[in-house]
Symmetry: C2
Subunit: 349 residues, 2 copies
């Protein structure tokens, strides 16, 4: 990826840490009124007036969370910013500030760091976030990025994982399993490239899936939509590890059981088609695939009519008692299969 | 270090990510009234009422910032927590919440992760901080820890790097250069251990220096002391990269020159003695050594009497105009040597 570039390559040592920080600071002048002090001091200073501060952080490791032979660094920066902001969105909070910690080996050039920051900037512009700080250092090997996203919300609007009640309905946004299949397509192509470096990949049949993998959207639009529809969910979580895991998280956190209907799980046509091509059940992609960054939430039954038929939402199941357990109900109500959580989520790298 | 332990070894895979997060959450129940939601949701929720939020983050990489053959993991956790909180303290803010991101290879056991968290907990107890979130993942190689510290301050009390005026006095807390020499002693011993694994190190002459390296104290006590003395510094920074770098940071940020007197730089007797043993100028250790986590600040001349003679403070120089430059004035006013900044600070690993 980087080797193909016809641009100059500057080593990190040449520019130095302080030079790099200056370059970064120039690209991220504070824009939000809540950012009193951005990059350039010991700490950033933030003012949310009468709102609460929300904060979340995630770490991304080369070879575990991404491989940059098929994840352009710009997309990497974009995606991890979206992934981190998604956690704030899942609390019904407005993402506002971002801190970026990067460690990278000498194999990376200044231009490579630039590309990561380009992606971060593009995502921040979309989400209207300020980059207000961070730390850049060398590593002995590989790339490691750790992001912290900070946001705000009025206390009564915050949506915790806890809050669901029996008989509530389970709702998901968008469609699921696409990001996982996008990864499969990219990995297959990487294997072909190993054998034939002159291979020209044709991704035209997989545009949607590859975009789901390389350029996922955190669903900040949904918060506005729920407000317009006057729906206040009772609990919410984002889908980063696959639907199964997240449903079980909500079930456990609320001390309840949760049941989802196989036939209600939203799948894009290209997800179904490509899953068949790879000989995988598309439902498995949705349940265990992860990285879709859609939202999973519960609503009161009285809100059913407000959401019913809206193309942004799928009502996929209902909340029961804890002793009843959590199940996938297969097509035609034929079978109840216990939902299973995943452990360490790792890409094969 | 870890291999010497007579305790069970549990692999990370065995416990799983969710099991690990649960174990961590149990050890860090929120204690502060400002922590509305700690570990266990998509994001933590914080409420500082009428104060501003301050936030800073740092990343620490094995082989760059530490080597755990002579940095016990408990000390590592402690030190990096202090180092990160130190940035908030340098803004005159109260450190309150911490987020911990850890990536580590399978070489590390659950007990090793435990040790890091033990050190983090010990530091957090001292600083009265809550751990409110974070992310734990595997890495292909080595250990990478990224910390985010969040704190609060009344707006009018925040101390920025900018704010110094010509004729202000430059003040440092404690003494300098000790942490760097502690590292030299530990590295020398590690070399001996390579040749003779049965070597029993005798650190009795270096207790203070090794403590400065392995168990540094962020100077939260100084904030209280300055309040008692009724001194409001005009600018402040913490000394993590060595005195030279930090003085130049303040000079640049304020568009001023800064001059320091060699004979005024505070050195512990064991720093002087051990520097001689290593054939290094102890002043060089103070100027370039780093990791002392003392505070450097400027005060108005009218506050001189309030600080004069206080054993916690050394008045080391004065602020001049930018065009005059920034210098070290050697003993007896003999020479003016331009201060030089460091680039990438790396331990030899």
């Amino acid at each position: 990826m980087l080797d193909d570039k016809k641009i100059s390559k500057t080593s990190l040592d040449e520019l130095g840490e302080f030079g790099l920080i200056e370059q970064i600071a120039l690209r991220f002048p504070p824009k939000l009124t809540s950012t009193l002090q951005g990059i350039g001091d010991d700490a950033a200073v933030i003012d949310y007036k009468d709102e609460k501060t929300l904060v979340t952080s995630e770490i991304f490791i080369e070879g575990i969370h991404f491989r940059w032979d098929y994840m352009p660094l710009r997309h990497l920066g974009y995606k991890i910013t979206m992934a981190t902001a998604s956690d704030l969105i899942a609390m019904n909070a407005k993402p506002q500030q971002l801190l970026v910690n990067i460690a990278l080996s000498n194999r990376f050039t200044i231009e490579a760091v630039d590309e990561i920051y380009n992606g971060i900037k593009y995502a921040c512009d979309q989400l209207k976030m300020d980059v207000v700080g961070g730390d850049t250092t060398s590593s002995t090997r590989g790339l490691c990025v750790s992001l912290t996203a900070i946001g705000s919300a009025k206390e009564e609007k915050i949506l915790y994982r806890k809050g669901a009640k029996p008989k509530d309905l389970l709702v998901v946004t968008g469609d699921l399993g696409g990001a996982f299949l996008g990864l499969q397509v990219l990995e297959r192509e990487a294997q072909v490239n190993k054998v034939n470096p002159n291979n020209q990949p044709d991704f035209s049949n997989y545009t949607y899936l590859i975009e789901r993998q390389l350029k996922p959207q955190a669903r900040i639009d949904i918060l506005e939509l729920l407000k317009e529809l006057d729906v206040q969910p009772t609990s919410m979580i984002d889908i980063s590890d696959g639907l199964s895991s997240e449903v079980l998280h909500l079930a456990k956190e609320n001390g309840l059981g949760m049941n989802i209907y196989e036939e209600k799980i939203p799948l894009d046509p290209s997800t179904i088609r490509t899953a068949e091509e790879f000989n995988i059940n598309p439902i498995t992609c949705a349940l265990s695939g992860g990285e879709d960054f859609e939202l999973l939430f519960t609503i009161k039954q009285k809100d059913f009519d407000k959401i019913k038929g809206n193309p942004n939402f799928s009502i996929i199941g209902y909340v029961g008692e804890e002793k009843e357990g959590s199940f996938l109900i297969t097509k035609g109500n034929e079978q109840k299969v216990p939902l299973v959580a995943q452990g360490w989520r790792e890409q094969e790298a």
